[in-house]
Point group: C2
Chain length 365, copies 2
């Protein structure tokens, strides 16, 4: 029997976002005693903490307790059984970027376990997985929220869903969807001043922690393609996968197969002239170059790559590592609805997850 005033929380992942989320969850549970939020499971890829009777796990020193735990994480099918046998409803918080966990979402959802997550993999993998996830949720009544899968805590997914559900017609979505790409191009081709050498900016971005350990994982455009896939599907397009539309990679062909990120960075300066040409071509038109994604809903065209923008365009004027997302719709007319701000970082990503959790709890408690 489900108790109405308690919701159990199970967490997979305790890395950067996971740690920030734990901090936010602890404060939320203190501030809002009703419904009672009870942590009943937490795991990393190697360790786990849980009790067979679903007793509350204390937030005090939970990450160090977890690190020294002798329990191994439960495989998805076992985790489903453990969570579904509790007397209260459960929300699974997936703070990993794991495809394996994502593949198990339909199983969790069909067993009545709601999901909130910043994990892009579930929503940008095969279209079949997308359908399986939302069909399972529809049938069981469990909820699945993933605000932080695009633009971290920025209200991107919720705004698009509101537009679609209230009957607006989204015609085009355009923007800068990667904090890394934003930082790189805002420094490499600023609206005033000359900017740095391409390879030097990539190196700097890596040193500042703005890139993946191997910067090619940002420069290949796949991260942006995954986000576009999610938004296009929410706008009603049956996009098969993030590789089913044109995605421009900024990795020179010759460096695709070098073995390490460090070797890549070492050899990148030899290709600076290519990027310099792109920058100069834009400058000749009085423009700057930016790495953007766009979805034309009517023609069903999704694409990711370099584009030129007037200096007065909001995309050109972006600062730091900010994201910007413009929604062009029938109701909003020629001036789009724009969302702008930090689209990466532990606390703002966790904020999207915590916000989703609050919304799910308000519906299931």
């Amino acid at each position: 029997m489900a108790s109405a005033r308690q919701v159990n929380i199970a967490i997979i992942g305790a890395g950067g976002v996971g740690k920030c989320f734990l901090g936010q969850l602890e404060k939320l549970a203190q501030r809002k005693p009703s419904p009672k939020l009870v942590l009943t499971y937490i795991s990393t890829s190697k360790k786990a903490l849980y009790n067979e009777n679903h007793a509350a796990i204390s937030f005090d020193n939970v990450t160090s307790t977890l690190a020294s735990s002798s329990q191994a994480p439960l495989a998805p099918s076992k985790l489903v059984n453990y969570l579904a046998s509790a007397s209260s409803k459960t929300v699974l918080v997936d703070n990993t970027s794991s495809q394996d966990v994502a593949d198990a979402y339909p199983l969790f959802l069909s067993n009545g376990i709601s999901i909130v997550t910043p994990n892009k993999k579930a929503f940008s993998g095969s279209y079949k997985l997308w359908q399986d996830i939302f069909n399972a949720a529809e049938q069981s009544g469990a909820k699945v929220y993933h605000e932080s899968s695009v633009g971290a805590g920025l209200p991107v997914i919720s705004t698009l869903k509101d537009l679609v559900e209230t009957g607006d017609e989204v015609t085009k979505i355009e923007g800068v969807f990667s904090g890394t790409m934003s930082f790189l191009f805002n420094s490499f081709a600023p609206t005033s001043g000359s900017g740095g050498q391409w390879s030097a900016e990539v190196k700097k971005a890596k040193e500042l922690g703005y890139t993946e350990p191997d910067p090619r994982d940002d420069l290949n455009g796949l991260d942006v393609a995954r986000k576009l896939t999610i938004l296009a599907r929410l706008a009603g397009l049956e996009v098969e996968s993030p590789t089913s539309f044109p995605v421009q990679s900024l990795i020179p062909k010759e460096l695709e197969s070098v073995s390490t990120g460090d070797e890549f960075l070492e050899k990148l300066p030899a290709f600076d002239s290519q990027m310099e040409e792109v920058k100069n071509a834009a400058e000749k038109e009085g423009k700057v170059v930016r790495f953007v994604g766009s979805i034309d809903v009517a023609t069903k065209q999704v694409k990711v790559g370099l584009e030129k923008f007037d200096l007065s365009h909001p995309i050109a004027a972006l600062k730091g590592s900010d994201n910007i997302i413009s929604f062009y719709t029938k109701r909003y007319g020629s001036n789009p609805l724009i969302i702008q701000g930090a689209g990466a970082g532990g606390e703002v990503t966790a904020m999207g997850v915590t916000g989703d959790l609050i919304k799910v709890v308000s519906q299931i408690a």
Copy 2:
């Protein structure tokens, strides 16, 4: 006994926003058959439609049926009794800007009737009414949502609530909160070109339908002050009323008491030199003047009036009658979270109401 899969909808107001909302509601009810959305009451200030047995009112020609109805609207206390006696839960949609309806919100909420509304009056009147509303909702479990009370359908209220509820610290909120003021200053003091005469721009704005029938109702700043009051309260400040902080009026003292809006417009050109001075003073600093509102949460300072902005500032670069709202928070750091787009208009305002309705229904059905 409440039926879980039907929600009754009662609507007060069938003007500009009301008509747009009716269209959106009809399509929503068709598209999402579960829970069933049933219209059980609709009224203007003079007429009403309802059946004692809460039978569904057809959406077909509902506004003309309403106009020729012989039923008078129910007073709030009678409406509460009528709605609360239904076997399904009810959402009251207040599409008026009536203080009388707003004053009755605590009564509706304490009787379990949820409210969605673009009506600013309830949330920007006395602080006591604000407290009564949210206390009544807290105690009965009924919901109250008012996204369109600030920035129409732009996700302003929901974003601020997410920031606060997830534990972020909002330090400052700043922006252009009036479509009328945005249009006036974007035309009067554009970032390029010289702009028009002040009185001519006001006249043009009125002719385009961007102002209230008497433009002084926009120029007195009270509309912006009401929106600031709402946001400041959501950010945790106990703002007593929209007249309890500095609000700059753009109505020349000498024209405050002229009897009609037309007379005001006729006499306004004599005061153009005053506004011209303001514009020139900004230009000398390489800036433009804009009518903005700001909330400094730490110092508890709320103010509304003219400010100067660099040409590259997002507030200066605004177009048409767009609103822009910047949230500065601890998590977002030096670059704020920005929301921008049309902040007025029937369809986008109704969109905020419909979006709220969907959220409320998902929690009570």
